[in-house]
């Protein structure tokens, strides 16, 4: 009986408290929800587009078969990219740009060795795009992650945020640039997935690194549309066990590795 009376007396105070708490919770949570919705709106649109029979927009990606790549092959990838985009790197210089690099892996437990090419992973949720203050770091509708050379201010925050060390800052004055790959001192750059070839040839495009190592039917680096379930890359991703680097981060890379 006494406790019931207590409750009645406390009700207005409790109601006020609940109202206050609800208002506070709303104030605190609303900005987060807004941010989440803004961040995911684009992703959802793309996902919905993929659910239809024919995907409206492609998402370009790579499947790299490390079993089919020798060390010489990976060197060939790197040289082909350098020729295609006009960059070079002196051995041992920590300031040189590297759009693609050869990585040697040794399993710490088994000692098994792997060699693979490493480049921008063209994430669906790229951290470099999230952190770029001016929006110079951007993702195209077809999933290619690029740097707008005209609005990059050279703050290097994208390089801090990239989980794959895919980006380089141009530390030196450049000469003899190629028309397909404009570069500029004081800005950041990375693999473009040979976007100039893709814009020219569409689904039939072959990035320079893939061209250097693919022979006939043996495609050690397979380029294709991840949104098209009938594409060769989607088929092979379905039938083979593949690995996406740092999948735990949830950034959904567009590059997958087979045999890792």
């Amino acid at each position: 009986m006494a406790s019931e009376l207590d409750n009645i007396e406390l009700r207005p105070a409790r109601r006020r408290f609940m109202q206050g708490a609800a208002a506070l919770a709303t104030t605190l949570i609303a900005p987060g929800v807004l941010l989440y919705k803004t961040g995911h709106a684009q992703g959802e649109n793309e996902a919905n587009a993929g659910n239809k029979d024919r995907p409206a927009i492609p998402r370009w990606g790579l499947l790299i078969d490390t079993n089919a790549l020798s060390e010489a092959d990976v060197d060939a990838c790197v040289s082909a990219c350098q020729r295609e985009h006009g960059w070079s790197s002196d051995a041992g210089s920590p300031t040189d740009a590297q759009w693609i690099r050869k990585v040697h892996l040794t399993d710490k437990q088994s000692g098994q060795q792997t060699v693979l090419p490493m480049m921008c992973q063209h994430c669906a949720d790229p951290p470099c795009v999230d952190v770029c203050p001016t929006g110079a770091s951007f993702k195209r509708a077809d999933g290619i992650v690029l740097v707008n050379k005209h609005t990059c201010i050279g703050c290097r925050y994208c390089m801090m945020a990239c989980p794959y060390k895919a980006r380089s800052f141009i530390h030196e004055v450049l000469q003899d640039q190629l028309a397909v790959a404009p570069r500029g001192k004081g800005t950041v750059e990375s693999c473009t997935l040979c976007v100039h070839r893709i814009d020219r040839d569409g689904a039939n495009a072959v990035p320079a690194c893939a061209e250097a190592v693919n022979r006939g039917e043996r495609k050690a680096i397979l380029f294709g549309d991840l949104n098209d379930p009938d594409s060769e890359i989607s088929q092979r991703l379905q039938s083979h066990r593949t690995t996406r680097l740092r999948a735990d981060l949830g950034v959904d890379p567009g590059v997958s590795y087979q045999g890792l």
Binding site: T106, C132, G186
Partner: protein, 376 residues
């Protein structure tokens, strides 16, 4: 005069770096942020903290601090301008400032910070004006509260530049935001006390002991606060096995970073100042307070160097479970030796900030006449 020369030399150094490219700095594609960022972030963090005295007077109603509030606001603006100048001049394309001011990616913490920093300068100027204009003095309290809230958010933003970097073991912690706030309280107060004592010394006046005693205790408290957050940060990292490599690097075998951490940040930058501030023998000695402030400031630089440079030097873990080698320095500790150009640029920011503070102090009635030991 010396400050003006230092600032000019630093701007010249930045121009040289802009023309030649960043290869003349010690920074590279492994350690992308270096000494200029240590200076810039120190100044920005200290700027937020320099407002402590004004906040204590306006927000917490301790009127005995009111005469110092104006100087506190002036110093705060000056330090922020100095820090931002260093950050701007270190950009790969400082000429594109207008791009940074007109293109905003609202998901970027950097973009938030651009708004937070410029907003802070406007708010602090308005606050200063309200404090100086007698007709509007009653508005200085709400303005002070607003400035206080804004600077807490501002330093949260600065800490979050690192805290939100999920891919790097050295960062990826929400603890960095409150840690930066306490760092701002401590470094800002240390700079404030030094300049206050210097300006009174220049005018051959005595500052009353009660003020100094309180500031001394407050400074010690903030130092303990930093120590708490540093311990908590490393203990959290140490608990997870996957971070043992990074913790080993900073705490045990990271060479210069380990030395900076234990010797300059912890021993000389925290423990010794605490002893100087609290030991009964030194309680009444202004010299011990000056020494403690200097030690806290060098400790702050050491701490930021370990966080910013040390955090990047530790390699990214792209392939967990593998030993990694590549031509792009995967899997190895990044190298970084600061160049003279970077040092000049950083010092120029510091000199520029002090120059602004001193000039304003000369031109405007910042330190009032009524306070014992105030400027005339």
């Amino acid at each position: 005069m010396l400050l003006a020369i230092l600032a000019a030399v630093g701007i010249g150094a930045a121009h040289h770096m802009d023309v030649e490219g960043h290869h003349i700095s010690g920074m590279n594609n492994q350690v992308v942020w270096g000494l200029p960022h240590v200076f810039a972030i120190f100044l920005i963090v200290a700027a937020s903290g320099a407002l402590n005295l004004a906040s204590i007077a306006s927000v917490f109603g301790k009127i005995e601090y009111k005469p110092l509030a104006r100087f506190s606001a002036v110093l705060s603006i000056a330090l922020l301008v100095g820090g931002l100048a260093v950050l701007l001049l270190d950009l790969g394309r400082p000429d594109r400032l207008i791009v940074a001011m007109t293109h905003y990616n609202f998901k970027s913490i950097f973009a938030w910070n651009i708004i937070l920093y410029s907003g802070f300068i406007v708010i602090a100027l308005a606050y200063l004006w309200l404090m100086m204009e007698r007709r509007f003095e009653r508005w200085s309290k709400p303005a002070g509260m607003f400035a206080f809230a804004w600077r807490l958010i501002l330093t949260t933003g600065t800490g979050s530049i690192f805290g939100f970097l999920v891919a790097r073991e050295a960062y990826d912690s929400a603890l960095l935001a409150p840690m930066f706030i306490v760092m701002s309280f401590s470094f800002g107060l240390a700079v404030f006390i030094l300049l206050l004592l210097a300006s009174f010394k220049l005018d051959q006046r005595e500052l009353d002991g009660i003020h100094l005693q309180r500031l001394r205790k407050l400074l010690g408290l903030f130092s303990i606060g930093i120590l708490y957050f540093v311990m908590l940060f490393h203990l959290t990292k140490l608990y997870g096995t996957q971070n043992h490599g990074f913790e080993r690097f900073i705490l045990l075998d990271g060479g210069v970073y380990t030395q900076l951490f234990w010797l300059f940040q912890i021993a000389l930058g925290t423990l010794l100042p605490l002893f100087l501030l609290y030991a009964p023998r030194w309680q009444n000695s202004p010299k011990s307070l000056v020494l403690a402030c200097l030690l806290i400031i060098q400790g702050g630089f050491a701490q930021l160097y370990v966080i910013i440079v040390g955090g990047q030097a530790f390699p990214l873990n792209i392939f967990p479970g593998y030993h990694v080698e590549s031509s792009f320095f995967d899997g190895v500790i990044g190298t970084y030796t600061p160049s003279l150009w970077e040092l000049l640029l950083g010092c120029a920011g510091l000199a520029g900030a002090l120059l602004i503070a001193l000039l304003v102090l000369r031109v405007l009635p910042i330190l009032p006449q009524s306070l014992p030991g105030a400027k005339d």
